[in-house]
Symmetry: C2
Subunit: 476 residues, 2 copies
Amino acid sequence: MKITRYFSDLYKVPRNPSFKSLTEKDLKYFESILPSSCIVKENLESYNEDWLSLVKGNSSLLLRPKTTQQVSAIMQYCNQETLAVVPQAGNTSQVAGGVPVHDEIILSTSSMNSIFKFDENLGVVWCDSGVVLETLNNYCMERGFIVPLDLGAKGSCHIGGNLATNAAGLRYIRYGSLHGNVLGLEAVLADGEVVSDLKALRKDNTGYDLKQLFIGSEGTLGVITKLALLLAEKPTSQYVACLGCESYEKVLQVLSLAKKELGEVISAFEFLDKPIYDLILKNVTSTRDLLRTHHNFYVIVETSGTNSEHDLEKFESFLEKVTLTGMAQDGILAQDEKQAQEIWKVREGTALSTKMEGHVFKYDVSLPLQEMYRVVERVRKRLTEEFCAGYGHVGDGNLHLAVATKNPEKTAKALEPFVYEEVQRLQGSVSAEHGVGLTKPSKLKYSKTPQALQLMKQLKTLFDPKGILNPYKVLI
Amino acid sequence: MKITRYFSDLYKVPRNPSFKSLTEKDLKYFESILPSSCIVKENLESYNEDWLSLVKGNSSLLLRPKTTQQVSAIMQYCNQETLAVVPQAGNTSQVAGGVPVHDEIILSTSSMNSIFKFDENLGVVWCDSGVVLETLNNYCMERGFIVPLDLGAKGSCHIGGNLATNAAGLRYIRYGSLHGNVLGLEAVLADGEVVSDLKALRKDNTGYDLKQLFIGSEGTLGVITKLALLLAEKPTSQYVACLGCESYEKVLQVLSLAKKELGEVISAFEFLDKPIYDLILKNVTSTRDLLRTHHNFYVIVETSGTNSEHDLEKFESFLEKVTLTGMAQDGILAQDEKQAQEIWKVREGTALSTKMEGHVFKYDVSLPLQEMYRVVERVRKRLTEEFCAGYGHVGDGNLHLAVATKNPEKTAKALEPFVYEEVQRLQGSVSAEHGVGLTKPSKLKYSKTPQALQLMKQLKTLFDPKGILNPYKVLI
């Protein structure tokens, strides 16, 4: 509780007085356009609080429309009445992006969850924005495809929320950005206007690519209601290995070799440093040491392909080179599904392991590969008494830096703005994949030029002149 | 000449009277801010005329700045004076997108052509927008990478023009869209403001992804001056085959099998129908029949990978299945570089072969795969006396439809709006990869909703209130 309060103070933003407070008349209007099952006025605690318990909003109304037309009618009314709205998907944001800060109406996409079209020839699926990522992936898997996106929250997060936040995750190194994989999108603008293009063509150069604006704008420019996604062929062969390296430089050498040797079949390249690896083994039950020896760095490499024999041959040859050249000192190639899961379990234990050590400060930054780990070392120098670790999607230049502490106020001062200044100095990004949400608008200046921020503000004003869509987020 | 005139009439747009005509005072100003080598006032014919000779503009001034600052100074002045400007890259547009329509100042990027940074670990190259695509690719090839974009005009087109038009080409099926591969971009807005983000991070979720707006906006929202591009590893193994199929349905079966069997190594999947194949053999010297037998359809499949033995094994197994199941009746796998070039020479002969048959109407449309060839058949039914053929990037749903005629006026009436209405009915795109330019703004209504067009216009007004950037193009 103490810790939650610490953050609540940190992210306190004054309510925008231009927003109207909800009245009985408004409720009556919503009751006139929506079935009663779409209107929730009680027990809103879990919708008011974000996943990391950074914020507790004070909304008294959650609307969960079932159709685009209903979303449109809601937005039209809210715009006319200047009622603020926070679109909420699976509420798994790491930056408190999907919860009300004050009394915003919560517009949940959870009742729009149908997968309504699938094309085997194209490898494209069409669905509502409220479909849970894992559900969508299972649906596609049964049909020989996978969603080109995989992340820890897949059991709760919505695909629409993934688009809104431009989510990335584990297999980004293989399948790339949603900016490349989203083929169609439907969104409701702040004034209720519907912009829809669900033709899902791989190629369509007929003017400005409007859907790109909604991808990554975190619900501040429109509410995504439907989408069409380009899928990847379901791999028929998958291998995963864990390697132990003595230095971060060796990790980079392994990465470089993996890109060359595993080329088109590489599907994940993750790293963990010794502190987080050891902490996971200590704090997360059902994990075990993967290697017989201890190392300063651990690398997880995965391949996904269409020919098991070929992939294994490539992987074994890669592992041989890695060992012979001394890039890695030890390694294990999972021999079956169980061993593969053991490896991934360690990687997935990062969040839980740090949580048990006290209050956790987590940074999700992009940095030049060569410099990435030096930032962790510099932070460690400043915080000799705290737990400090680095891990993440090194194949994509994405570092997660975690600091666990019993003394958040003091630690915060040592960490900020130091970490952000380092990121700025090294021309990195203050948010690689988690987005801006409520917690990072004030940090944008470390990553964006004043000209870019100005243009963002102009776009926001164009799309949402009254600022009612997801207020207090992304831009301040 | 007759044919050029036919088109010139077709694309005649009245001059926007709000644009100022160039004066001596303006010239003096440009002379004061630019070296004399950057100012060209004579022999502008080739810059005034587009690649397909559809348009002859009447510009009397070409500026070719060397730096972003110079571009900025030019735009600032032009905006202040309401002087219209057409950004011009390699002038290889298929839709007259890069030439003046009236007396617009031509702003050429040809003197901004330095490749200024390369990162082997990331596989990223940074360069000016005026670098020729082939030059850039050669530079990257020497360093173990390739530009994830390949198209016929590579010897002339600029990488900045490729971005501005969201160019696609032959290997799109493998490497996907520039929306996914462009990591950084610098652009000068209509008022001279510079928006720059060249950090080139694979992951950066810090607000609206502004660069996406410039990709595919054809120079109407800003002038791209610099960029950072994610490269693909240079393949160490490449195979290409030509197959003969008896029906379009069989072509689709081959495509489906290729995706499954060749999976991660497939790098091109093209098709040609019998009329265009035969015409190429007849009209294009140094091409020869690739197969011993004749077929209704020809398919070209290419793989690019990192292991020659594996790729060959996959390709041979694929070819065996294709033949045994009767999907293809004949086929040839190139045994060496020479044979591979012979196959590609046929594919590349399409443009030249039709040009020799009279006036050519060419359509570049996206269509649902199942329906794609039926459109060609329907057009053929309407034009029993004209040459009519279909070919293109079937792997991406992109059809090129070519009609050659001695009687363009009559043929035009039979073709339009018929072709566009077919595209609309089938929920396709009236421009898959060539863009809108000057020739297709009036066709956008067949692909875009009124809401989308409205939003595009609002964006144009936000970025370029006076409409001076590439006027008469994209939007009308």
